[in-house]
Subunit: 184 residues, 2 copies
DNA sequence: TTGATCATGTAAGGGGTTACATGATTTA
DNA sequence: TAAATCATGTAACCCCTTACATGATCAA
Protein backbone atom coordinates (compact mmCIF):
# COMPACT_ATOMS: atom_id res chain seq x y z
CA UNK A 1 0.00 0.00 0.00
CA UNK A 2 2.80 2.48 -0.71
CA UNK A 3 2.53 3.39 -4.37
CA UNK A 4 -0.31 5.86 -3.73
CA UNK A 5 1.75 7.52 -1.00
CA UNK A 6 4.80 7.76 -3.21
CA UNK A 7 2.70 9.35 -5.96
CA UNK A 8 1.35 11.86 -3.45
CA UNK A 9 4.92 12.60 -2.37
CA UNK A 10 5.99 13.21 -5.94
CA UNK A 11 2.92 15.37 -6.67
CA UNK A 12 4.52 18.13 -4.68
CA UNK A 13 4.59 19.58 -8.21
CA UNK A 14 1.86 18.92 -10.82
CA UNK A 15 2.66 16.05 -13.17
CA UNK A 16 1.18 13.50 -15.54
CA UNK A 17 1.34 9.74 -15.15
CA UNK A 18 4.01 9.67 -17.79
CA UNK A 19 6.09 12.26 -15.90
CA UNK A 20 5.77 10.26 -12.69
CA UNK A 21 6.97 7.12 -14.43
CA UNK A 22 10.07 9.00 -15.50
CA UNK A 23 10.69 10.16 -11.95
CA UNK A 24 10.51 6.57 -10.76
CA UNK A 25 13.01 5.49 -13.38
CA UNK A 26 15.40 8.38 -12.91
CA UNK A 27 15.39 9.26 -9.27
CA UNK A 28 13.61 6.63 -7.17
CA UNK A 29 14.63 3.46 -8.91
CA UNK A 30 17.17 2.50 -6.24
CA UNK A 31 14.29 1.78 -3.89
CA UNK A 32 11.09 1.56 -5.93
CA UNK A 33 9.87 0.64 -9.39
CA UNK A 34 6.47 1.19 -10.97
CA UNK A 35 4.93 0.50 -14.36
CA UNK A 36 2.62 2.85 -16.25
CA UNK A 37 -0.07 0.17 -16.22
CA UNK A 38 -0.08 0.48 -12.45
CA UNK A 39 0.42 4.23 -12.19
CA UNK A 40 -2.57 5.23 -14.34
CA UNK A 41 -5.23 3.27 -12.44
CA UNK A 42 -3.71 4.34 -9.12
CA UNK A 43 -3.97 8.00 -10.10
CA UNK A 44 -7.60 7.43 -11.08
CA UNK A 45 -8.28 5.88 -7.71
CA UNK A 46 -6.57 8.74 -5.89
CA UNK A 47 -8.79 11.14 -7.81
CA UNK A 48 -11.95 9.25 -6.81
CA UNK A 49 -10.71 9.56 -3.22
CA UNK A 50 -10.21 13.33 -3.74
CA UNK A 51 -6.53 13.07 -2.80
CA UNK A 52 -5.52 14.43 -6.21
CA UNK A 53 -7.40 16.26 -8.97
CA UNK A 54 -6.62 16.39 -12.66
CA UNK A 55 -7.30 18.42 -15.74
CA UNK A 56 -6.54 17.90 -19.39
CA UNK A 57 -3.69 19.93 -20.79
CA UNK A 58 -2.50 20.25 -24.39
CA UNK A 59 0.73 18.53 -25.27
CA UNK A 60 3.58 19.93 -27.34
CA UNK A 61 3.67 16.60 -29.12
CA UNK A 62 1.54 13.48 -28.92
CA UNK A 63 -1.91 13.14 -27.35
CA UNK A 64 -3.42 15.38 -24.67
CA UNK A 65 -1.89 15.10 -21.21
CA UNK A 66 -3.74 14.70 -17.92
CA UNK A 67 -2.06 16.88 -15.32
CA UNK A 68 -2.53 15.75 -11.73
CA UNK A 69 -2.08 17.87 -8.66
CA UNK A 70 -2.31 17.02 -4.98
CA UNK A 71 -5.24 18.33 -2.94
CA UNK A 72 -5.08 19.50 0.69
CA UNK A 73 -6.54 16.17 1.73
CA UNK A 74 -3.85 14.46 -0.34
CA UNK A 75 -1.11 16.33 1.47
CA UNK A 76 -2.61 15.44 4.85
CA UNK A 77 -2.83 11.81 3.79
CA UNK A 78 0.88 11.87 2.89
CA UNK A 79 1.81 13.50 6.21
CA UNK A 80 -0.09 10.82 8.11
CA UNK A 81 1.99 8.20 6.29
CA UNK A 82 5.22 10.00 7.16
CA UNK A 83 4.26 9.96 10.84
CA UNK A 84 3.78 6.18 10.77
CA UNK A 85 6.60 3.89 11.94
CA UNK A 86 9.02 2.69 9.26
CA UNK A 87 7.12 0.35 6.97
CA UNK A 88 9.48 -2.58 6.82
CA UNK A 89 8.13 -5.51 4.83
CA UNK A 90 9.97 -8.79 4.63
CA UNK A 91 12.34 -8.66 1.74
CA UNK A 92 12.15 -11.81 -0.31
CA UNK A 93 15.45 -12.53 -2.01
CA UNK A 94 15.11 -15.33 -4.50
CA UNK A 95 18.87 -15.38 -5.16
CA UNK A 96 19.51 -16.28 -1.51
CA UNK A 97 17.06 -19.12 -2.03
CA UNK A 98 19.11 -20.31 -4.98
CA UNK A 99 22.32 -20.14 -2.97
CA UNK A 100 20.67 -21.89 -0.02
CA UNK A 101 19.97 -25.01 -2.05
CA UNK A 102 23.12 -24.89 -4.13
CA UNK A 103 24.50 -27.99 -2.39
CA UNK A 104 22.11 -29.96 -4.64
CA UNK A 105 24.47 -29.27 -7.51
CA UNK A 106 26.93 -31.57 -5.80
CA UNK A 107 29.95 -29.37 -5.13
CA UNK A 108 31.13 -25.82 -4.64
CA UNK A 109 31.88 -24.92 -8.24
CA UNK A 110 28.42 -23.69 -9.12
CA UNK A 111 28.17 -21.73 -5.86
CA UNK A 112 31.49 -19.99 -6.61
CA UNK A 113 30.40 -19.07 -10.13
CA UNK A 114 27.08 -17.86 -8.78
CA UNK A 115 28.79 -15.65 -6.19
CA UNK A 116 31.11 -14.18 -8.80
CA UNK A 117 28.10 -13.33 -10.94
CA UNK A 118 26.41 -11.72 -7.95
CA UNK A 119 29.53 -9.75 -7.11
CA UNK A 120 29.66 -8.43 -10.64
CA UNK A 121 26.03 -7.40 -10.45
CA UNK A 122 26.56 -5.40 -7.27
CA UNK A 123 29.79 -3.72 -8.41
CA UNK A 124 27.98 -2.56 -11.53
CA UNK A 125 25.19 -1.23 -9.35
CA UNK A 126 27.59 0.64 -7.07
CA UNK A 127 29.29 2.20 -10.08
CA UNK A 128 25.91 3.37 -11.41
CA UNK A 129 24.88 4.82 -8.05
CA UNK A 130 28.27 6.51 -7.61
CA UNK A 131 27.78 8.15 -10.97
CA UNK A 132 24.30 9.35 -10.00
CA UNK A 133 25.71 10.71 -6.77
CA UNK A 134 28.49 12.53 -8.61
CA UNK A 135 26.28 14.33 -11.14
CA UNK A 136 23.20 14.74 -8.97
CA UNK A 137 24.44 15.66 -5.53
CA UNK A 138 28.13 16.50 -5.41
CA UNK A 139 27.45 19.38 -7.81
CA UNK A 140 24.47 20.66 -5.85
CA UNK A 141 25.06 23.85 -3.82
CA UNK A 142 25.98 23.21 -0.20
CA UNK A 143 26.96 19.56 -0.59
CA UNK A 144 27.04 17.63 1.68
CA UNK A 145 25.73 19.33 4.81
CA UNK A 146 23.84 22.30 3.44
CA UNK A 147 21.76 20.67 0.73
CA UNK A 148 18.09 21.60 0.50
CA UNK A 149 15.99 19.42 2.78
CA UNK A 150 14.53 17.63 -0.25
CA UNK A 151 17.96 16.87 -1.68
CA UNK A 152 19.30 15.81 1.70
CA UNK A 153 16.61 13.17 2.16
CA UNK A 154 16.90 12.03 -1.44
CA UNK A 155 20.66 11.70 -0.94
CA UNK A 156 20.08 9.62 2.20
CA UNK A 157 18.07 7.12 0.16
CA UNK A 158 20.78 6.91 -2.47
CA UNK A 159 23.43 6.37 0.22
CA UNK A 160 21.29 3.50 1.52
CA UNK A 161 21.43 1.86 -1.90
CA UNK A 162 25.20 2.31 -2.07
CA UNK A 163 25.71 1.01 1.47
CA UNK A 164 23.60 -2.05 0.79
CA UNK A 165 25.34 -2.89 -2.48
CA UNK A 166 28.79 -2.46 -0.91
CA UNK A 167 27.80 -4.73 1.95
CA UNK A 168 26.69 -7.33 -0.60
CA UNK A 169 30.08 -7.13 -2.33
CA UNK A 170 31.96 -7.62 0.95
CA UNK A 171 29.68 -10.55 1.75
CA UNK A 172 30.39 -12.14 -1.65
CA UNK A 173 34.11 -11.84 -0.94
CA UNK A 174 33.71 -13.43 2.47
CA UNK A 175 31.81 -16.38 0.98
CA UNK A 176 34.25 -16.82 -1.89
CA UNK A 177 37.19 -16.80 0.53
CA UNK A 178 35.54 -19.51 2.59
CA UNK A 179 34.90 -21.63 -0.48
CA UNK A 180 38.53 -21.17 -1.43
CA UNK A 181 39.88 -22.12 2.00
CA UNK A 182 37.63 -25.16 1.90
CA UNK A 183 39.35 -26.46 -1.23
CA UNK A 184 42.77 -26.12 0.34
CA UNK B 1 7.95 -17.51 -9.25
CA UNK B 2 10.25 -18.77 -6.51
CA UNK B 3 8.04 -20.29 -3.84
CA UNK B 4 7.59 -23.53 -5.82
CA UNK B 5 11.36 -23.78 -6.23
CA UNK B 6 11.99 -23.17 -2.55
CA UNK B 7 9.47 -25.87 -1.67
CA UNK B 8 11.23 -28.26 -4.03
CA UNK B 9 14.52 -27.36 -2.38
CA UNK B 10 13.12 -28.08 1.07
CA UNK B 11 11.54 -31.35 -0.10
CA UNK B 12 14.96 -32.90 -0.09
CA UNK B 13 13.28 -34.76 2.76
CA UNK B 14 9.55 -35.68 2.81
CA UNK B 15 7.40 -33.15 4.64
CA UNK B 16 3.89 -31.79 5.03
CA UNK B 17 2.74 -28.25 4.29
CA UNK B 18 2.72 -27.60 7.99
CA UNK B 19 6.33 -28.81 8.33
CA UNK B 20 7.41 -26.61 5.46
CA UNK B 21 5.80 -23.57 7.06
CA UNK B 22 7.85 -24.23 10.17
CA UNK B 23 11.04 -24.45 8.13
CA UNK B 24 10.26 -21.07 6.58
CA UNK B 25 9.72 -19.56 10.01
CA UNK B 26 12.72 -21.14 11.66
CA UNK B 27 15.45 -21.34 9.09
CA UNK B 28 14.61 -19.32 5.98
CA UNK B 29 12.87 -16.35 7.43
CA UNK B 30 15.86 -14.04 7.00
CA UNK B 31 15.28 -14.13 3.26
CA UNK B 32 11.79 -15.53 2.63
CA UNK B 33 8.38 -15.73 4.25
CA UNK B 34 5.37 -17.83 3.26
CA UNK B 35 1.90 -18.37 4.66
CA UNK B 36 0.13 -21.73 4.91
CA UNK B 37 -2.64 -20.35 2.72
CA UNK B 38 -0.08 -20.00 -0.01
CA UNK B 39 1.91 -23.16 0.68
CA UNK B 40 -1.02 -25.60 0.46
CA UNK B 41 -2.30 -24.56 -2.98
CA UNK B 42 1.28 -24.37 -4.28
CA UNK B 43 1.94 -27.95 -3.19
CA UNK B 44 -1.28 -29.03 -4.93
CA UNK B 45 -0.13 -27.30 -8.10
CA UNK B 46 3.31 -28.95 -7.90
CA UNK B 47 1.57 -32.30 -7.58
CA UNK B 48 -0.58 -31.64 -10.68
CA UNK B 49 2.69 -30.84 -12.46
CA UNK B 50 4.17 -34.14 -11.19
CA UNK B 51 7.06 -32.34 -9.51
CA UNK B 52 6.02 -33.74 -6.13
CA UNK B 53 3.73 -36.57 -5.05
CA UNK B 54 1.88 -37.00 -1.78
CA UNK B 55 0.24 -39.60 0.35
CA UNK B 56 -1.86 -39.45 3.48
CA UNK B 57 -0.12 -40.41 6.69
CA UNK B 58 -1.57 -40.82 10.17
CA UNK B 59 -0.73 -38.16 12.69
CA UNK B 60 0.29 -38.66 16.30
CA UNK B 61 -2.11 -35.91 17.20
CA UNK B 62 -4.59 -33.87 15.19
CA UNK B 63 -5.94 -34.64 11.71
CA UNK B 64 -4.29 -36.79 9.05
CA UNK B 65 -1.14 -35.38 7.45
CA UNK B 66 -0.36 -35.21 3.76
CA UNK B 67 3.29 -36.11 3.24
CA UNK B 68 4.88 -34.66 0.12
CA UNK B 69 8.01 -35.91 -1.53
CA UNK B 70 9.92 -34.61 -4.53
CA UNK B 71 9.89 -36.62 -7.78
CA UNK B 72 12.83 -37.02 -10.15
CA UNK B 73 11.24 -34.40 -12.40
CA UNK B 74 10.95 -32.15 -9.35
CA UNK B 75 14.63 -32.46 -8.60
CA UNK B 76 15.54 -31.70 -12.22
CA UNK B 77 13.26 -28.66 -12.12
CA UNK B 78 15.09 -27.43 -9.02
CA UNK B 79 18.50 -28.01 -10.60
CA UNK B 80 17.47 -26.02 -13.66
CA UNK B 81 16.57 -23.11 -11.35
CA UNK B 82 19.94 -23.36 -9.59
CA UNK B 83 21.70 -23.10 -12.93
CA UNK B 84 19.86 -19.88 -13.78
CA UNK B 85 21.55 -16.53 -13.15
CA UNK B 86 20.86 -14.92 -9.76
CA UNK B 87 17.21 -13.91 -9.70
CA UNK B 88 17.47 -10.36 -8.48
CA UNK B 89 14.13 -8.58 -8.38
CA UNK B 90 13.86 -4.93 -7.53
CA UNK B 91 13.55 -4.57 -3.82
CA UNK B 92 10.85 -2.11 -2.91
CA UNK B 93 11.57 -0.41 0.38
CA UNK B 94 8.62 1.61 1.54
CA UNK B 95 10.58 3.03 4.48
CA UNK B 96 13.04 4.66 2.07
CA UNK B 97 10.00 6.19 0.39
CA UNK B 98 8.91 7.63 3.70
CA UNK B 99 12.37 9.05 4.36
CA UNK B 100 12.56 10.43 0.82
CA UNK B 101 9.56 12.68 1.35
CA UNK B 102 10.25 13.49 4.97
CA UNK B 103 11.07 17.10 4.10
CA UNK B 104 7.28 17.61 3.86
CA UNK B 105 7.17 17.46 7.64
CA UNK B 106 8.99 20.80 7.65
CA UNK B 107 12.22 20.08 9.50
CA UNK B 108 14.70 17.40 10.45
CA UNK B 109 13.17 16.31 13.76
CA UNK B 110 10.84 13.70 12.32
CA UNK B 111 13.61 12.34 10.09
CA UNK B 112 15.92 11.96 13.10
CA UNK B 113 13.28 10.15 15.14
CA UNK B 114 12.51 7.95 12.16
CA UNK B 115 16.17 7.02 11.71
CA UNK B 116 16.53 6.19 15.40
CA UNK B 117 13.52 3.89 15.13
CA UNK B 118 15.04 2.25 12.07
CA UNK B 119 18.37 1.83 13.80
CA UNK B 120 16.66 0.13 16.70
CA UNK B 121 14.86 -2.22 14.35
CA UNK B 122 18.08 -3.30 12.67
CA UNK B 123 20.08 -3.73 15.89
CA UNK B 124 17.31 -5.99 17.19
CA UNK B 125 17.48 -7.95 13.98
CA UNK B 126 21.27 -8.34 14.15
CA UNK B 127 21.00 -9.57 17.74
CA UNK B 128 18.42 -12.17 16.70
CA UNK B 129 20.53 -13.36 13.76
CA UNK B 130 23.67 -13.49 15.93
CA UNK B 131 21.81 -15.71 18.34
CA UNK B 132 20.67 -18.00 15.53
CA UNK B 133 24.24 -18.15 14.28
CA UNK B 134 25.53 -19.03 17.73
CA UNK B 135 23.16 -21.91 18.44
CA UNK B 136 22.79 -23.16 14.89
CA UNK B 137 26.20 -22.97 13.31
CA UNK B 138 28.97 -22.25 15.79
CA UNK B 139 28.09 -25.51 17.54
CA UNK B 140 27.98 -27.52 14.34
CA UNK B 141 30.95 -29.85 13.72
CA UNK B 142 33.65 -28.32 11.56
CA UNK B 143 32.59 -24.70 11.93
CA UNK B 144 33.38 -22.58 10.02
CA UNK B 145 35.27 -24.12 7.11
CA UNK B 146 34.32 -27.78 7.33
CA UNK B 147 30.57 -27.55 7.70
CA UNK B 148 28.44 -29.88 5.61
CA UNK B 149 27.71 -28.37 2.20
CA UNK B 150 24.08 -27.80 3.20
CA UNK B 151 25.04 -25.98 6.38
CA UNK B 152 27.71 -23.97 4.62
CA UNK B 153 25.24 -22.56 2.11
CA UNK B 154 22.60 -21.98 4.77
CA UNK B 155 25.20 -20.13 6.82
CA UNK B 156 26.07 -17.97 3.80
CA UNK B 157 22.47 -16.83 3.59
CA UNK B 158 22.40 -15.98 7.28
CA UNK B 159 25.65 -14.02 6.95
CA UNK B 160 24.00 -12.07 4.15
CA UNK B 161 21.18 -11.05 6.49
CA UNK B 162 23.67 -10.01 9.17
CA UNK B 163 25.81 -8.07 6.69
CA UNK B 164 22.80 -6.25 5.33
CA UNK B 165 21.45 -5.31 8.73
CA UNK B 166 24.86 -4.10 9.93
CA UNK B 167 25.19 -1.99 6.79
CA UNK B 168 21.79 -0.47 7.54
CA UNK B 169 22.91 0.43 11.07
CA UNK B 170 26.08 2.12 9.80
CA UNK B 171 23.97 3.99 7.26
CA UNK B 172 21.57 5.19 9.97
CA UNK B 173 24.55 6.50 11.94
CA UNK B 174 25.90 8.31 8.90
CA UNK B 175 22.54 9.99 8.29
CA UNK B 176 22.05 10.90 11.94
CA UNK B 177 25.53 12.43 12.09
CA UNK B 178 24.77 14.55 9.06
CA UNK B 179 21.50 15.74 10.56
CA UNK B 180 23.39 16.61 13.71
CA UNK B 181 26.13 18.54 11.93
CA UNK B 182 23.43 20.38 10.06
CA UNK B 183 21.95 21.76 13.27
CA UNK B 184 25.34 23.05 14.43
C1' DT C 1 -12.26 -26.25 30.39
C1' DT C 2 -9.59 -23.02 28.08
C1' DG C 3 -5.96 -22.28 25.08
C1' DA C 4 -1.99 -23.86 22.33
C1' DT C 5 -0.51 -26.84 18.83
C1' DC C 6 -1.36 -29.95 15.05
C1' DA C 7 -3.32 -30.09 10.45
C1' DT C 8 -5.61 -28.77 5.95
C1' DG C 9 -7.83 -26.07 3.39
C1' DT C 10 -11.07 -21.91 0.81
C1' DA C 11 -12.38 -16.97 -0.33
C1' DA C 12 -11.81 -12.28 -1.13
C1' DG C 13 -9.09 -8.74 -2.37
C1' DG C 14 -4.84 -5.90 -3.17
C1' DG C 15 -0.36 -5.33 -5.53
C1' DG C 16 2.30 -6.07 -9.46
C1' DT C 17 3.79 -7.78 -14.25
C1' DT C 18 3.36 -8.57 -19.17
C1' DA C 19 0.96 -8.04 -23.11
C1' DC C 20 -2.15 -5.56 -25.88
C1' DA C 21 -4.51 -1.35 -28.11
C1' DT C 22 -4.24 3.28 -30.01
C1' DG C 23 -2.35 7.11 -32.11
C1' DA C 24 0.42 11.63 -32.75
C1' DT C 25 5.05 13.71 -33.37
C1' DT C 26 9.89 13.92 -33.94
C1' DT C 27 14.41 12.23 -35.33
C1' DA C 28 17.54 9.35 -37.99
C1' DT D 1 10.06 5.74 -44.07
C1' DA D 2 11.25 3.49 -39.95
C1' DA D 3 12.07 3.89 -35.15
C1' DA D 4 11.90 6.27 -30.87
C1' DT D 5 9.34 9.18 -27.83
C1' DC D 6 5.10 11.13 -26.06
C1' DA D 7 0.78 9.79 -23.98
C1' DT D 8 -3.16 7.07 -21.94
C1' DG D 9 -5.21 3.34 -21.01
C1' DT D 10 -7.35 -2.08 -20.56
C1' DA D 11 -7.04 -7.24 -19.77
C1' DA D 12 -5.28 -11.35 -18.06
C1' DC D 13 -2.70 -13.40 -14.89
C1' DC D 14 0.34 -14.40 -10.81
C1' DC D 15 1.82 -13.59 -6.03
C1' DC D 16 0.70 -12.70 -1.52
C1' DT D 17 -2.09 -11.37 2.71
C1' DT D 18 -5.96 -11.54 5.81
C1' DA D 19 -9.77 -13.67 7.22
C1' DC D 20 -12.59 -17.58 7.60
C1' DA D 21 -13.87 -22.69 8.32
C1' DT D 22 -13.08 -27.13 10.56
C1' DG D 23 -11.70 -30.24 13.84
C1' DA D 24 -8.49 -33.32 16.84
C1' DT D 25 -5.26 -33.63 20.78
C1' DC D 26 -2.63 -32.13 24.67
C1' DA D 27 -1.07 -29.29 28.58
C1' DA D 28 -2.26 -25.75 32.13
Amino acid sequence: MSLPHLLLGMLDVPATGYDLKRTFDRTLRHFWAAELSQIYPTLQRLERQKLVRSKRAPSARGPARRLYRRTGAGRRHLLAWLREPPQIGDQRQAWLGQLCFMAETGGTKRAAAFLIELRHHFTTRVAAYDEVERVWFREAPGFPDDLSLDDLHAHFTLRAGIARANAAIAWCDECLARLHRRRA
